[in-house]
Symmetry: C2
Subunit: 373 residues, 2 copies
């Protein structure tokens, strides 16, 4: 059942487990319980009409502080299929995607979302092939300004200033409508069919954090979630929420998915937002990665399951594995510093030692520290 | 139900979920299915008689390789209560612990265990207070030699060569019976009641890896599991299995527990063994960490739940939350390099960049990379 026919882990558990046991299972699997957000009726209706899932969850309140008011904000995570076939004319594909996203963003606005993030390379189907990548900058700015919402828009960037090369990029648009900046995918997969290293290079913008009206945010694109150091550097630069727009398939990574972003939230005293594509995308040309599988025209099944994790180890349920969806999560950013003060991973991190050990380890003649009898 | 009355997540799921759904839940929660080991009847009987849990699981086979035979080995994870009250004379406490561990190791030997690891500071109850820490070196050497088993023995070490200071240490004894070496806890908690920083200092032995007859192993003691860089350096030095002997309680970390060691196995292409104490320990003197709780004589409930995670993201079920136990896991170390070759996190890790970024980040005048409107 690695495909669309199994909807979600949470639905299965809620259906079969008696209440006291369900609570215990959830405590261990999900940490402190989140509560359902009371979303406006018109948002729910619009989602139904638009045929996409809408979930809203609030994390348990952070402790009250004497010197800071709560910093409650709402994030929106969008997962979606590509509405048209990859054989349709490119302009039509893009226009259909814009229309789809616009409808979901409208609902996010009704739900009071302050920061919204789309899936990796949302503005087109995943494979670049010979199609010209499209920057949807104007579209994002329009949406941001209209809804006073920070928009994180992961796209494929054509870099006109550097020989028209491609980057896997996320543009961050302020709620004022101005482009705040961009960040690039730092780690590029070289895994099976995900031959992205033949399309673009490792990001060269370091680990920028964007200070928005709603908190300090960063974007760790897709495969970067497998690299704990990538999360760490965003956190060291002050990120309170790290978004992880992704595109990953069931047979490859589904058992990693609930682990990695959540571990990053714990290890870095921050919120993380894991966003995956959903559905299956079929391409005009067949391909193979020489792994023994027959040549094929799709990557496999993108299993959705987008979720938000908190620095206290709790997490929201995931969106479904098979439907477009918007996940709204309410969180109090004060929890980040509270967890930092409680657990002290930054104080106990010994980063100087690791900087030195890593600097040694990358030397060509490095001699690993091995003890032999 | 944060205490002893709830036995384990796995037992609850197996009891209530219909088979096809159970399989799907397990696929997402635990990855590729492990299979039950067929353990010798006399081992099962001895465990019953000794009143401790015995579980045996084998991970899915690694791919067959033309140039290397499979490297199948068995690890043993031991979790146990302290048999006597902390008010009993120290020598009696230690002797009872030795007896208990010896009985469990006997069963491990019957089950063909090659490498065994005890819980953090196993040779005494957790709080040092004014009791003299005891090194159980002779005991470990005897066991190792008797059973041709590598023994990892986490103890409190009295360092006679350096002013009688204490370390939180793990001694690694080769299957020949010789001490192969030792490693020290690199990160010391400063969290609530876990005021260990007043007992011993951060380890000064770096990240040694021990080359045994059964594979290359390392020991990341307790709180070090919250630090992804700690796991990483053991892995860079070549560890194929990283043991994590711990002592942690339900209200603090139970929702972190299934995440962290498993994330480390994924991120580092290695096996990880998460071992926790079990039960409640009550001490003669009351203590408080000034967190608003009344002075008390115990840490809280150590929830056991020891497990093994594999580099492909799969994991064994956990031992129970409330019983002494031995978990035997059969694994093929070839899987480490296979996952390394598939996922390439080491090749794509960009450690040079991180060494430089961390070296900057620790400077007192470091200016975090923040983008403002």
């Amino acid at each position: 059942m690695a495909g669309a026919e199994w909807e979600s882990l949470e639905q299965c558990l809620e259906k079969h487990l008696p209440l006291p046991e369900l609570q215990e299972v959830k405590r261990i699997l999900y940490g402190k319980e989140t509560r359902l957000l009371d979303l406006p009726r018109r948002a729910v209706e619009a989602a139904n009409q638009g045929d996409f899932e809408l979930q809203g969850h609030a994390f348990a309140a952070a402790a009250a502080e004497q010197m800071r008011p709560p910093r409650l904000i709402r994030v929106g995570l969008v997962q979606n299929k590509t509405p048209l076939s990859t054989k349709a004319p490119v302009a039509e594909q893009v226009s259909a995607l814009h229309k789809r996203i616009e409808a979901i963003v409208e609902v996010a606005a009704m739900c009071g979302v302050n920061i919204i993030c789309f899936q990796e390379a949302w503005s087109k189907s995943l494979v670049v092939l010979s199609l010209p990548p499209l920057i949807s900058k104007c579209f994002d700015e329009k949406l941001a300004k209209k809804h006073s919402m920070v928009v994180i828009s992961p796209i494929l960037e054509r870099d006109h200033s550097h020989g028209d090369v491609l980057w896997n990029t996320a543009v961050v648009v302020s709620d004022s409508g101005a482009v705040l900046g961009k960040t690039r995918k730092n780690h590029i997969p070289r895994v099976g069919d995900f031959n992205e290293s033949t399309y673009y290079m490792e990001g060269n913008l370091g680990h920028p954090v964007f200070e928005t009206h709603f908190g300090k945010i960063a974007v760790n694109i897709c495969y970067g979630r497998h690299h704990p150091l990538n999360w760490l550097m965003y956190s060291i630069n002050g990120a309170e929420i790290i978004f992880n727009p992704s595109a990953t398939i069931g047979s490859l990574s589904e058992s990693f998915w609930p682990i990695e972003a959540r571990n990053a939230a714990i290890a870095n005293h921050c919120f993380t937002c894991a966003i995956n594509r959903v559905g299956q995308e079929c391409f005009p040309n067949e391909f193979t990665s020489g792994d023994g599988e027959k040549a094929h025209k799709d990557f496999g099944y993108f299993y959705g399951s987008s979720y938000v994790a908190a620095p206290d180890g709790s997490r929201t349920p995931g969106l479904s594995r098979n439907r477009d969806g918007l996940l709204v999560a309410e969180l109090d950013l004060n929890l980040c510093r509270q967890m930092n003060d409680l657990w002290s991973f930054k104080m106990t991190g010994r980063y100087k030692m690791y900087a030195e050990e890593l600097a040694e380890a990358v030397k060509p003649d490095y001699n690993p520290h091995i003890v032999r009898e």
